[in-house]
């Protein structure tokens, strides 16, 4: 877990052929997911959503609304569908909103995820970023979504990046009040890393520092492009290699740009065929999204009733 003391740490990651990786990623979009597979896939995807609001204008009321939606994505599900739909996996907010979310989600089993470490840019002194993290945990966060130091990464100072991730990991490892376990998600901000070689290198670097059960994550959602199938594939392959090589098991969270139920099924197909059955669970795969859940609900209702719902049929959060 200890970071290398060297600033210019060598990272011996495999190279990635972008054209071939993109072609492989695109192949999952031609998987035909119908009938029972679609029904099961939509429910699985819903259970993997990190319902997210990350805006300067976020209000406590909006967060409470989001938490209500997280607990019960479709309150009239039993009447309309004849079944109880799963809750989402987590609600993802800024640190200032963690106390609100923690209160609203208390006892639900839904995690409070907080972006931290000077999200989204990370352009703050390390001690500020660590205090940001500790405060979010103290206020009730079960999951910390940290950003890496892209400036250091892009200038080749991998040792610094690794060391900082290790320090945030150490803060998370102390857990929250009452011995609450805290998981870490490391946001690579792949839109700023640009090349797949960088994405793979950053993935390997992060995976080496974090613990079993922690995640790597594509994007803040504040930089374009956010999550893409190609980037996610490269990261899934890094996770697979760490598992096969060291038995270390890491989760994956693509975030940003996944808006439709169909996209989410394509991602699930990619997870299924890259990492297999064991990762098809909210414990190991998440979608960071704000509008995805509504489209999933729309498709579930359409499958059941044959009719498309209007946008206003589901409460906005």
């Amino acid at each position: 877990m200890a970071a290398s003391p060297t600033v210019f740490q060598a990272v011996n990651s495999p190279t990635i052929n972008r054209v071939s990786a993109d072609a492989r990623a695109a192949s999952f979009t031609t998987r035909s997911i119908k009938t029972t597979a679609k029904d099961a896939g939509l429910r699985l995807a819903l259970s993997m959503v990190d319902l997210t609001t990350l805006e300067g204008k976020d209000s406590p009321e909006k967060v409470r609304s989001l938490c209500a939606k997280a607990r019960r994505p479709m309150p009239d599900d039993e009447r309309v569908l004849g079944e109880r739909l799963p809750s989402v996996a987590a609600v993802c907010v800024y640190p200032s909103m963690v106390p609100v979310a923690a209160e609203a989600l208390g006892g639900s089993g839904i995690n409070v995820a907080s972006v931290a470490t000077g999200f989204p840019s990370g352009q703050y002194p390390l001690d500020v970023r660590l205090r940001d993290t500790a405060k979010a945990i103290a206020d009730g966060a079960d999951e910390i979504d940290m950003v890496i130091n892209r400036g250091a990464f892009l200038s080749g100072k991998y040792g610094i990046v690794a060391e900082e991730i290790a320090e945030v990991t150490a803060v998370c490892a102390q857990g929250g009040p009452g011995g609450r376990e805290v998981h870490l998600k490391v946001i690579l901000e792949t839109g700023e890393l640009e090349t797949y070689d960088n994405v793979r290198r950053a993935s390997d670097l992060a995976i080496a520092q974090i613990r079993d059960g922690d995640f790597i994550k594509t994007s803040t959602g504040k930089v374009s492009p956010a999550a893409t199938m190609g980037v996610t594939l490269v990261m899934l392959e890094a996770i697979r290699d760490a598992w096969l090589r060291d038995g270390k098991r890491i989760g994956m969270k693509p975030a940003g740009g996944i808006r439709t139920a169909k996209q989410s099924l394509h991602y699930l197909a990619m997870v299924k065929e890259t990492l297999g059955d064991a990762w098809l669970s909210p414990d190991w795969f998440r979608f960071g999204a704000s509008s995805l859940a509504d489209d999933i609900l729309r498709q579930i209702v359409r499958r059941k009733t044959g009719r498309y719902t209007a946008g206003y049929d589901f409460g906005v959060a």
Binding site: V19, S20, A40, W243, D246
Partner: protein, 508 residues
Amino acid sequence: MTTFQEQDAAAVTKTSAAGPGRSPALEFASAWDYAPAPETTKVEIADSHGHYIGGTFVGAAKGGTLDTLNPANEQKLSTFARGTVADIDAAVNAAREAQPKWAALPAKERGKYLFRIARRLQERAREFAILETMDNGKPIKESRDVDIPLVAAHFFYHAGWCDKLKYAFGGAEPTPVGVCGQIIPWNFPLLMAAWKLAPALACGNTCVLKPAETTPLTALRLGEIFDEIGLPPGVVNIVTGDGEAGSALVEHAGVDKVAFTGSTEVGKKIARAVAGTGKKLTLELGGKSPNIIFDDASIDQAVEGIVSGIYFNQGHVCCAGSRLFVQEGVADEVIAKLKIRLQSLRVGDPLDKNTDVGAINSRPQLETIAKYFDIARDEGLDVFESSCELPSIGYWCKPSFFTGVQASHTVAREEIFGPVLAVLTFRTPEEAITRANNSPYGLAAGVWTDKGSKIFEIAGQLKAGIVWLNTYNRFDPASPFGGYKESGFGREGGMQGLRGYVKLGGDR
């Protein structure tokens, strides 16, 4: 570079994946399986088919009929005429009669016909894809996304050449060869028809096409398109049947050029038959193509390249990357990852949109493949097979590979023409080149490295008609295709492919 302990086959498939402490493995069972997604569009298939001669569909002269089966369920799809010398004679005569007028058409008018064929094929693409999959056994995703689009692309491409031929040969004025006898295989039935017909027609020739005896249906349906678009009678004639029709076509005195794609064994017979007759000849024959992975390659993408090299179209590909050469330092990792990848290849109903590997085209071909498994076991080779379940009827072969292969082993020398790979290793680039070239064949090769300079250094030394760099089995009508040595001669596609269908000043 990461090294993987080569995993026990059972561990890859059986051990349940879980947290630390247990053996790291991946499970691809069925936590969330894809529901069947069969292509449901119905394609009408007539009970019987005749030859297409002189613009009309006619019955067999007296050769009787043959059946064509769906290899995925062994059900008969239709009967078709078994061509005889008399049928070939009628077809060649129709082509001879049509040829002068076809050649005399203004070039851009010939181009319009080819454009129309291409457009109509696109309009009827789904029907052709389904029919191809039923007759051949290949997965619908390949016939839909590869075969049929490439067929249309070949006609489009050659439509553009019709009125530009004189720019293709450095100012020499090209004239048509005359009547072309074209014999095509069963692995890409309609695509091979397009590879043969499109350049021949563009250059002002007329054609007699003999489809393979297990896959005649899409070529015959192409005859319907010729009718629809008003192609003049006799410009393309299609005679179905077996080897008898094929030899009659090769030997017919009215044929000016023979083009054949198929086995090296039959190719040699054709070369002997044509020798001394003055007929032009192009042959596209077998292969045992090397796919070479260096230790500085992008390994995950190279593994995809292995898969598309040998498991594409059930390995029924003349340019299949059937000999894999992996540099020693990454061999364990590549083999471990290939084993994992094989578990997610979906084998089964070719009409299911999620099928990756379809049915073997015929029982004889399945027996040929089985024979090589026996030989490999006799020679002491280890085989790894996908753990997929095969349907109970139809002709099937699990995607497989042999490890511990040496250059002298039979499966490293002979073309198997199935989803079966021979895995060899090498230590130095020189060794890779020597071993890759150590083959009677020379059709294709693949090179995988992240280093640009190495790519060109290695590619220049490989004796193969096609060298793919960091990719495999990619086709384009603008790119010439053909072999060295016993893989044949002549090129198909691109500007070079036109040369086999024209006479220039110095030609007889």
